[in-house]
């Protein structure tokens, strides 16, 4: 950390830059980490397992039919320029998000029209949905409230202040923006009289946080060891093992919700053959998957991650069994193998590449060759959006943005076709029907049962090799206190608010 006259400044070392800070436009992990620092939402995810905590909204109620949601705001919240955070600000922010139709818009736009939001009084705001939508609340932590006055003041050609908000903020969060040097570092200065106060106490509160871009893991490690940064993300699995032994360094290691799967194209090519898919799933060396992470991962026991409500351990999910694999292969259209299947992964994703090597090695006994192909993410998504161009096997990490099982289950809905996580083009009318039913029901017991059936059926259809859930890891100096994990955040993302430095 850096000592300044105002106090300690915590330094976070990360690999990914923040090109656009605007909360209604982008929400990748680095961006969201900074957004969470400078903005507040109506509610916020906290804790492990993740729970939705009241934030700007101190309480809320739902109508009988599940279509109307009313939120009551706290009265002491203030934007950084001193304006109060009121119902109009909330309404404006949601309207802005929906109208811009970017970033987070997809979460609500099918159920909420801008006209459906209304200001009841200064501190009460009402949302009227187009239909009942149980996961509604679980998306709200992603919607930040901006100060309409500031945004409107900086509007150019009716752009809702997009240009300005790219590297400015109009929030009410615990931090406000300091230095903003794109591609180098981003600084957030603590707000002295943050309306919600500081959990670590005013005395321990840092003067600010610097998010420093360090692209090379070797440089990250060096910086951490020299105490130039206090916490880093994105080291290799082996680095974590290595650096854990160093003095003064602690590893944060938590079970996450990001699932890894090798998605098959179930509609076209060799992998349209379920027996081949099964053969591959049984040939896969699952232990090596864990070894790639040096043990910091756990095998998926169902499409739905363990930390999510409604998860069950699906019995009979494939594990390595060469005999079975060969049996299935014999039943498939390629009884003697002899084919080459592409395995596409995002260029630069080290673990995905290594898993490709594991797959390649695993399929050798089946006489199936694997061609490992890295692709730029946009190209991969573009190819994966059509049945014809979607490769036989694609490695995909998926992080659900809410704790509701629908967030995962819907990936197997036919409506999701074209999305990157639906590259398998899974088509099982029974499953689709169950998903629809589960998402509109507000009775948890009924839903839980449906989700159990959904999980079992998906595993049986083997649209992908169910891989593992990788642990979320950070390496930090041991004097850095207050770290709070929550699985619903993105990989790498840290809640900066409760952090503080314990000086010896």
């Amino acid at each position: 950390f850096e000592r300044t006259d105002k106090g300690n400044v915590i330094v976070f070392g990360g690999r990914q830059a923040i090109p656009v800070l605007d909360p209604h436009i982008r929400y990748d992990w680095s961006t969201r980490m900074m957004q969470q620092a400078v903005y507040d939402g109506l509610v916020k995810y906290e804790g492990d397992p993740a729970e939705i905590k009241p934030w700007l909204a101190e309480k809320w109620e739902t109508s009988e039919d599940g279509k109307t949601w009313t939120f009551h705001l706290v009265k002491n919240a203030k934007f950084h320029n001193g304006d109060p955070v009121n119902a109009e600000a909330v309404r404006y922010s949601f309207e802005r998000g929906l109208k811009l139709n970017k970033g987070v818009a997809w979460m609500l736009k099918d159920f909420l029209a801008p006209e459906g939001i209304s200001v009841v009084d200064d501190y009460t705001v009402k949302f009227e949905l187009k239909g009942p939508y149980t996961p509604f609340l679980s998306f709200l932590p992603w919607w930040y409230i901006v100060n309409p006055a500031q945004v409107k003041a900086h509007e150019v050609d009716g752009d809702y202040g997009q240009k300005w908000l790219t590297d400015n903020e109009a929030g009410s969060g615990p931090f406000k923006l300091g230095r903003w040097e794109p591609n180098v570092l981003y600084e957030a200065e603590a707000v002295t009289d943050y309306w919600k106060g500081w959990p670590q106490g005013e005395a321990n509160r840092p003067a600010g946080v610097i998010f420093k871009i360090i692209r090379e893991p070797a440089a990250q490690k060096a910086a951490l060891q020299r105490g130039e940064v206090d916490i880093v993300e994105g080291l290799t699995p082996d680095d974590y093992v290595q650096i854990a032994r160093a003095k003064g360094i602690a590893i944060e290691d938590h079970k996450g919700m990001t699932t890894f799967g090798i998605k098959f194209n179930t509609q076209q090519g060799p992998t349209a053959d379920i027996n081949l898919r099964k053969a591959i799933a049984y040939a896969m060396d699952y232990d090596a998957l864990i070894q790639v992470y040096n043990g910091a991962a756990s095998l998926e026991t169902s499409p739905i991650p363990d930390a999510m409500r409604g998860h069950i351990d699906v019995p009979g999910i494939p594990r390595k069994d060469l005999a079975k694999a060969k049996e299935y292969l014999a039943k498939s259209g390629y009884p003697n193998g002899g084919i080459t299947l592409p395995y596409v992964h995002v260029a630069g994703l080290e673990e995905a590449r290594r898993i490709g090597l594991v797959l390649l090695d695993s399929l050798k006994p089946l006489n199936i060759n694997v061609e490992i192909k890295p692709e730029q993410w946009p190209n991969m998504v573009a190819n994966g959006s059509k049945v014809e161009t979607s490769p036989s096997m694609t490695s995909v990490y998926t992080t659900p943005v809410s704790t509701d099982p629908d967030a995962v289950a819907y990936q197997y809905h036919k409506n999701s076709w074209g999305q990157y996580f639906a590259m398998m083009f899974y088509d099982n009318p029974k499953v689709t029907e169950m998903i629809d039913k589960a998402r509109s029901s507000s009775n948890w017991d009924e839903r839980a049962k449906l989700y159990a059936d959904i999980q079992t059926q998906i595993v049986a259809d083997q649209p992908e090799v169910f891989g593992m859930l990788q642990n979320r890891r950070w390496a930090r100096r041991d004097y850095l206190q207050g770290f709070q994990f929550s699985p619903v955040r993105f990989t790498g993302e840290v809640d900066l608010y409760p952090l503080w430095v314990k000086s010896e």
């Binding site: 794109p182 130039e228 260029a347 730029q376 946009p378 998504v381 999305q419």
Partner: protein, 335 residues
């Protein structure tokens, strides 16, 4: 003279447009869909379409090209889809860092390369010549990225003499923006401590970048020196009793400097290209890094923009070399 300048500017413009066309075509032949990337992983098709139309990506390629060229003529390099900012603005922000690095590296290359080249020409085939030959060719053969990492490990991680990466320490505020070159700006602002730390930061990347350039400057200078030293007018100068030192350091050097200058001009452009690697290794926030990260996210406007910018600097550098040529060589000085 005026028509000369006018013609130069005209060719420069022509080349720039050519480069723009070239890179635009090259970068757009692929099927990449940057709109998809920035829309986020869960975006629906209509959200992606919103972004596409905002950036004109829904138009056909020839249309996009015409729009791009039209904007280019007006000095607009388009907008980066990832950062949503005008490319020109961003390139301008990152260019000083790159230029500073290149200038320092070039300085090192010339200051070391020219005298060494001279020496090894004078002591041709001697042990010094053999050593500098292997040294200089090593310079060209060393993979910059690898060499950078090794230096980093040695001097920054292990010995902790120098910083690992970046341009300035975290808390040091950059001096007031005048030229964008930290070394210069900090001197202008009178902040010697800032000058000192930024010098420490630039040392390693500059060495890595300058090494191949130093090598080729050395080689060219040596070869030219050897040739010049065998030329008739040097024989004549010797016959007229001019001292060896004067012959080598003044007469021959000036003649040998002509091709060396040309090489410096060439290497300048090459260096701008290599910053792509060096900036990646040293986290140097310049246009190279900007180009790589844009290329990796299929954001092609910045790639075209950076290529143009590099081309521009390169042409300017070569024009300067041409002028220097005319300044040194009276035969080129006629009206």
């Amino acid at each position: 003279m005026l028509t000369f300048a006018f013609r130069k500017i005209l060719t420069l413009l022509g080349t720039m447009i050519g480069i723009a066309a070239l890179t635009f075509v090259i970068t757009n032949i692929a099927p990449g869909d940057p709109a998809r990337l920035v829309a986020g992983p869960n975006a629906t098709e209509d959200m992606v379409a919103t972004i596409r139309s905002e950036y004109g990506l829904d138009k056909s390629l020839p249309e996009q090209f015409i729009v791009y060229m039209g904007d280019l003529v007006r000095g607009d390099l388009g907008t980066s889809i990832v950062t949503t900012r005008p490319v020109l603005e961003e390139v301008m922000r990152y260019a000083p860092a790159t230029l500073e690095l290149v200038f320092v590296a070039m300085f090192l290359g010339i200051v070391i390369g020219v005298p060494l080249g001279m020496l090894s020409a004078v002591y041709k085939d001697g042990p010094l010549d053999q050593v500098t030959r292997i040294f200089s060719i090593s310079g060209v053969a060393l993979p910059a990225f690898w060499f950078g990492i090794i230096l980093q490990l040695m001097f920054a991680v292990d010995l902790e003499w120098l910083p690992v990466s970046g341009r300035l320490p975290l808390v040091t505020r950059p001096p007031e923006f005048v030229t964008g070159l930290l070394l210069v700006d900090s001197l202008i602002a009178g902040k010697f401590s800032t000058f000192w730390v930024s010098l420490q930061h630039i040392i390693l990347p500059a060495i890595v970048l300058s090494f191949p350039c130093l090598a080729s400057i050395l080689r060219v200078n040596r070869a030219e020196m050897i040739e010049v030293l065998q030329s008739d007018y040097i024989v004549a100068a010797r016959a007229h009793g001019i001292s060896s030192f004067r012959i080598v350091a003044l007469y021959a050097l000036k003649n040998a400097m002509l091709p060396t200058l040309a090489m410096i001009g060439l290497r300048f452009g090459w260096m701008l290209g290599s910053t792509v690697l060096v900036e990646t290794v040293f986290d140097w926030p310049g246009i190279g890094l900007y180009a790589v990260s844009s290329a990796l996210s299929s954001d092609f406007k910045p790639v075209v923009g950076v290529t143009l910018m590099i081309g521009f600097f390169f042409i300017v550098a070569n024009t300067l070399v041409d002028l220097a040529y005319a300044w040194i060589d009276p035969r080129l000085r006629k009206a």
